[in-house]
Symmetry: D2
Subunit: 277 residues, 4 copies
Amino acid sequence: MPNDLLKGKKGIIFGALNEMSIAWKVAEKSYEQGAEFLLTNTPVSMRLGTIDELAAKCNTEVIPADATSDEDLENLVIKAVEKYGKLDFVLHSIGMSPNVRKKLTYDNLNYDFYHKTLDISALSFHKVIAILKKHDAMKEWGSIVALSYVAAQRTLYGYNDMADAKALLESIARSFGYIYGREKKVRINTISQSPTLTTAGSGVKGIDGLMDFTDRMSPLGNATAEECADYCITLFSDLTKKVTMQNLYHDGGFSSMGMSLKAMTQYEKSFDSPDGD
Amino acid sequence: MPNDLLKGKKGIIFGALNEMSIAWKVAEKSYEQGAEFLLTNTPVSMRLGTIDELAAKCNTEVIPADATSDEDLENLVIKAVEKYGKLDFVLHSIGMSPNVRKKLTYDNLNYDFYHKTLDISALSFHKVIAILKKHDAMKEWGSIVALSYVAAQRTLYGYNDMADAKALLESIARSFGYIYGREKKVRINTISQSPTLTTAGSGVKGIDGLMDFTDRMSPLGNATAEECADYCITLFSDLTKKVTMQNLYHDGGFSSMGMSLKAMTQYEKSFDSPDGD
Amino acid sequence: MPNDLLKGKKGIIFGALNEMSIAWKVAEKSYEQGAEFLLTNTPVSMRLGTIDELAAKCNTEVIPADATSDEDLENLVIKAVEKYGKLDFVLHSIGMSPNVRKKLTYDNLNYDFYHKTLDISALSFHKVIAILKKHDAMKEWGSIVALSYVAAQRTLYGYNDMADAKALLESIARSFGYIYGREKKVRINTISQSPTLTTAGSGVKGIDGLMDFTDRMSPLGNATAEECADYCITLFSDLTKKVTMQNLYHDGGFSSMGMSLKAMTQYEKSFDSPDGD
Amino acid sequence: MPNDLLKGKKGIIFGALNEMSIAWKVAEKSYEQGAEFLLTNTPVSMRLGTIDELAAKCNTEVIPADATSDEDLENLVIKAVEKYGKLDFVLHSIGMSPNVRKKLTYDNLNYDFYHKTLDISALSFHKVIAILKKHDAMKEWGSIVALSYVAAQRTLYGYNDMADAKALLESIARSFGYIYGREKKVRINTISQSPTLTTAGSGVKGIDGLMDFTDRMSPLGNATAEECADYCITLFSDLTKKVTMQNLYHDGGFSSMGMSLKAMTQYEKSFDSPDGD
């Protein structure tokens, strides 16, 4: 049920690959709520995914950009400002670890890959913001959001160097949130979302078992991509103007749980199993 | 600019004293957004304040209730359900410390007063929720919000036993958020608001100096009561369904600041003053 | 291996019931490290347990005291000061919930019991400190420690109103830590200990399953009562003089874990069980 | 007063430049407590500082190593194991930001420098641990500690990209703490120390004003380098075996303060100053 919450608002949405993507849902919901925006992703993601369909649905276009490239970002921001004037919102939904892809374990990382993980998953956020600020491309009280994960605070086996990247991402949100806030009243936050079965999420080791566990641990169950998009809408809207430098859990309550009855009931079944030790 | 975000939603709003109150602003904004609700406060607060004006503006009525009294709360909830059917949202904006009023210092508390501080400022939240649940008075995905303060995490001189009460309040939000979430999908959160010049806030020792400091520390400045009301609207809406058991800072960034240039610049002037040591 | 770490130090240890108690282990270790101290517990606990044996071992005496009684505490503190002069350390290891004992669920609490839970498990800490301060009974740089649990931050089913009591306890440590620190340089901290099979811990619902889970989640396994006592020694010693107002996790890493391979491997066995859903 | 707390323990201490360094104090205190260890620093730091004096005092030698170089670290670890056998403790006290040195602001960073900041101040910690693990150079229950700062959680103007580096450092401590803990029972923690007037600290913008403020905010005052060394000793000792994956504040209480009377009293003097606005 659209409410024109973003009527007249302009933005850029990074990271929509296909209809499983959180960024895809954010684009759909933002469009429903009256926003106009550019879509962007890397050229290779554009080929692998179906972002053009999304652009057609949302009556907009895709500007390819590698979020680690200053030039690409500069080109994107300039085009956005030419088209819309100053912007109201930006979504950063970008993350990738070559170490995870190559199945290198955390105690045996390739450090060039590690720098790449940080570059793609965290520094890209700094670069996006720095270029927006350099071009004075955000309206006062504009809103910049990046997607994060609880691994930034608590270690999950197999999440590997992406945990460090998310911790860095959240730190960048604070560091730049201070500066962009004091100078231009722009707010910067991260959303710490439940594990989500996106194309990226699917690659994480043991994601199914983990999602079953977090779903049973969370009193409201795991949050879906679509629900995450709803939450983004509130952060882009004028109703959250004084929220900044925060990492906001959108996870059905998981982050505040120590143990639920439902998860423990399941866990205890493991001891009835043939090889439950 | 109302967006019908709460169209058709029903609720109860605790704690509006006069037009400085955050609860007052929440009522106004909720009404603008299409909600219907009962107002409530203690009989003594009703006499001291102007809640009847608010009721008239919002086309509703005031049901007096002492939030520490099970009977009063039961009466209120029954009336609300009679009038509206099941509820979508509840705001708890209640806090008072007899120790603070009597200027007893934290190392010399009256323990009967201390229990009263907890009873009024924290247990009342438990009671409200318990009675809502007992009467099955909340719709699935309903939203319950209480107002808190950063003193729950960080000590501020003069805030006294209210700090402990806020820590307890936030714990109750988690404890009950788990249970009400798993059983009825009801979410429970607290908002940790900037120091605010309400009638209650005015009583806090050194509130002016503190508000100047937090305003200079926060990149977006202190959040006002009106902005806090906007934020409540998002938490009552369907856009935040999977947010629960959280304490959400609405403070212009203060909670994530260690030191701002603006606050330090002011601080350093103190050494130029005639008696700056 | 004693190191005379507490040589010449004097203290009071609350809460030793029997040799499973953490406080018991703290007494033994403190004695080994050269400390002298009074033991105390409620008269009923003294009858149920074997604290007299401990007193004999540690060459000291037991002064009965109900930690919720100002008079009892006053008597205890006066006796301690008469015997030792000013004190260096105090351990508070006290907690009890009548609601848990009576198997009342969190959504159906008895509020008189709730106040009792808070009184015994949290306010008693305030009272102990207030009376120490009133009698100026602590040396500068003295150390006061209370035992807490991660339920103060994250909800565990069945832990009930003890979670709220622990949140309050930790808040009291901060609130009083500020005041006693600035005025007398006394530090106040809480240790958030792994679930521990003490007589008190044994009463918690589902403690076995929970302890298995936390043990598999924690890279170093659950911390034992004896290890907790070692940690207390460091906090009583002169080596931690500038640590105050902190809640310190002593839990084998549990608090920083999202999911371990070991816990997930066990969890996944549950789906092989005859009725694993 | 040495207590033989580290008697027979062997280690490596990174980062002693001169007698203002925290690592210097850690070396002195560890030596007093009976430990043997290698010292290490970069060749350029060795020339600028006086580490040879320290080595003489502690009856040991300095092995030069650039902590960003795998080969240097490998050489160091092999030499340490040859000399001592497996190790009990390692201190990482390393941090540097070329962006800070070149006075580039956070919204105008050089990204090569940024990667260098992370490489020197955070990844070096990963490399040290990875090489220790690869050579199986740590004893079971060994202890690895790195020095951090509250900027990892809260933004301080002028601390720049070092804040991000500290957030990354703390994340690495968790990520590797999980793996090294589960496999070899090695614990990994960070100490979040008060601002300290080391040679490195002196370079931070506005450090004097900041240290005055944090000193007045902290009920026990700022923690000194020497006190930090005492705290390290407890973490290297056998008394803290189950503490891992933690960031431990050693700051006189600063991290748990919202506002102290002392800091506010000073702050309010600023309004009496000739140009207090």
